[in-house]
Each structure stands twice: as structure tokens, then as C-alpha cells.
Amino acid sequence: MWRNTRSGWGLVSIALHWLSALAIVGLFALGWWMTDLGYYDEWYNLAPWWHRSVGVLLLVATLLRVIWRLMLPAPVARGPRLERIAAHIGHIGLYVLMLVALVSGYLISTADGRGIDVFGWFQAPAFISDLPNQATLAGTIHWYSALALIILAGGHTLAALKHHLVDRNDVLLRMIDPTRSRRG
């Protein structure tokens, strides 16, 4: 139920997958919108505060997600060999782009050694700061990695729908229903 098995995803992975997907789409839209706000807009300071707060929580969740994923088995891949390889590479790409987008965002905000306020609950400490031109370089990486992530996730979504609608296999259902991890 909680843990992943060869036959399905456990609740932890399912919850992390869908919360992350929601957060990423939300962060992308928010990031896009907030960088065009005028100085006198009410959201000028508030929107980045939400973006950073959600972002830091997602960064922590993603690190745990990767550890959890490496500790447990994963459901067996479906489909022909080439599709399985493509899916495997695509999933690694998604993890890498998530981490690059998250870490580069973190590096923008911590470039001068200041921590990040997360919803007023706590401060995420700054580990790496004062690299040459850090905020600007991290910002460039942040934008391109976020864009690539959204595009790849779009392809990933189409692939998931293909499994469900065309191949009619259980790939999408096992990412929704945690009880499938109990079947042998």
C-alpha cells in the first residue's frame, strides 16, 4: 500500500508524483506571470514569495522522492523494448530537469548568502553563494530548465495517455491506485 512493488506504485510515490506535477505546473505559470509584473503591482513581492516557498518545499520533497525511488523496486515497464527504453530515458530526464530547475531557483534567491523564507515557517539556509554573477547565471539556467521540464512533462503526459487509451494497459491506473502495488 505505501511501498512500491513490481506490480504497482505505493501511496508515497503516487502522492509525491501528483503533488509534484501540480506544483510544477503551478510554479511554471506563477514564475512566468510574476516576472512580468509591474513594480506597483500588489503581487510584485507576494508572488515570488509564494513561488520560492512552494519551490523550497518541492525541492525537499523531490530529494526524498529520489531517495525513496532508489530504495524500493519499481513497477515493471510495459510495452515494446524501444518504448521501454524511451520511457526510462524520459523519466531520468524528468528527474534531472526537476532537480536542475529546483536547485537553480534556490541558487537565484540565495546568491548573496541570505536564506529563503518559506511561508514564514522557517528559513531555508543558503549553502552556496557569492559565485561570480550567480543570480543572473542561475536565473538563465532556471528559465531554460523550467521550460524544458514543462515540454518534456507534456510529452510524458501524452505517453501516459497513450498507454491508457491506445495500449489499454495498467500504466496510468497503477500511478493512481495504490492497491495495485499489492497484487502479485
Binding site: 509591474g38 534567491s109 546568491a111 554573477n133 543570480a135 543572473t136
Partner: protein
């Protein structure tokens, strides 16, 4: 005899600029960083944002006996801007303002100097920022000069001037009137070469 005269004359001519150069040429002490390029701009009319450019280099000629020959050249690495807030630095360096990616260096090259006596004067020169070159005037003061404790000779100045950002193609239209210009403050010590 003729040969000797030619050699002597050549030597004399060659040594003139040399001795003059020795009397007047200074390198701005960025190595020991006794040099600052700072700006001050209003924030909404309620306070000021202060910032500085950390990396730059330059030299100047200064000879108290020949003030008309005073000249200064400074080259600033725009991306080294620091206003004590990383996200603001990033924003100032973005194409909304300085566009440091496109215009990585700012330069100042003096074109003239008018002494007012009393260790003061007005420096005229071309300031290139954001790809735009504008002639500016900057009142400057000799702060002091003399031997330093490490066997060198130093002269130090300060100067400041107001810059209108629109002159440099930087659009401040979204900001209130008092943020449309800023004060540029420069102070440095030169080590005589």
C-alpha cells in the same frame, strides 16, 4: 661629433615623455581596493538604494604642475554590481535595466579637465553605459596625496555627479519621477607608476 649630438638629442627627446609620464601616471589601486564606484538612487522617495560595482580597473594622469593634462580612464565590469540583494541585482542587470549580458562593460574616458584651484575641478568625459555614450561632467576633489608606508606614492580623489537614466536608454517610466536619475559617486587612490 655629429654622431654624438644626434645620440644626445635622441636620448633627450626620448626621455622627455618618459620623465613626464613618471611624474603623472597612476594606476587606480583596485588591487588593494582603495577604490569605489557607487550609486545611490531613490526608492519610491522613501529612502535610497545604494549599490556598488566591485570589479573595475583604470588609470589616470595627474600632475599638479600641469593640470590641463589631467586625464582618467576607467573600465567597469557591469555584472559585478552589488546592491546587497541578489534578486534585485539580477533584476538591475537584466534587460529591464542595465542589460549586462549585452553590455558587459561600462567605460569612462575623460576628454577635458577644468581646474577651479583649491584642489578642485570639473572633469569632462564620455561615459558609456548600456551601450550609450554620453558626455558627462563630474566635479572632482583631490582628497590627498603623498608617500604611502610601503614605498609608493599615492594620490586620491573623489567625485560625484547625477545621471539621468533615460540618457543612457534605460527606461524608468514605470517608476516615480525621483527614481529617474541617480547619483554616481566615485573615489579612488592611484599608485604612481
Amino acid at each position: 661629433m655629429f654622431k654624438k649630438t644626434v645620440i644626445a638629442a635622441t636620448l633627450a627627446v626620448a626621455s622627455v615623455p618618459l620623465t613626464q609620464a613618471q611624474a603623472a601616471d597612476y594606476t587606480i589601486d583596485t588591487e588593494g581596493q582603495h577604490a569605489f564606484v557607487q550609486f545611490k538612487i531613490s526608492h519610491l522617495g522613501y529612502s535610497y538604494i545604494l549599490g556598488s560595482f566591485e570589479n573595475f580597473s583604470g588609470d589616470f594622469s595627474y600632475d599638479p604642475e600641469d593640470l590641463d593634462a589631467t586625464s582618467v580612464n576607467v573600465e567597469v565590469d557591469v555584472a559585478s554590481l552589488n546592491s546587497n540583494h541578489a534578486e534585485r541585482d539580477k533584476h538591475i542587470l537584466s534587460d529591464d535595466f542595465l542589460d549586462a549580458g549585452e553590455y558587459p562593460t561600462a567605460t569612462f574616458a575623460s576628454t577635458g579637465f577644468e581646474s577651479n584651484g583649491d584642489d578642485e575641478g570639473v572633469l569632462t568625459g564620455d561615459l558609456t553605459l548600456h551601450g550609450e555614450t554620453v558626455e558627462i561632467e563630474m566635479p572632482v576633489t583631490l582628497v590627498g596625496e603623498g608617500e604611502d608606508p610601503w614605498g609608493g606614492y599615492r594620490a586620491g580623489f573623489e567625485g560625484s555627479t547625477m545621471l539621468t537614466l533615460a540618457d543612457f536608454g534605460i527606461d524608468m517610466g514605470d517608476f516615480p519621477e525621483m527614481m529617474h536619475e541617480l547619483e554616481l559617486y566615485v573615489t579612488f587612490e592611484g599608485v604612481r607608476q
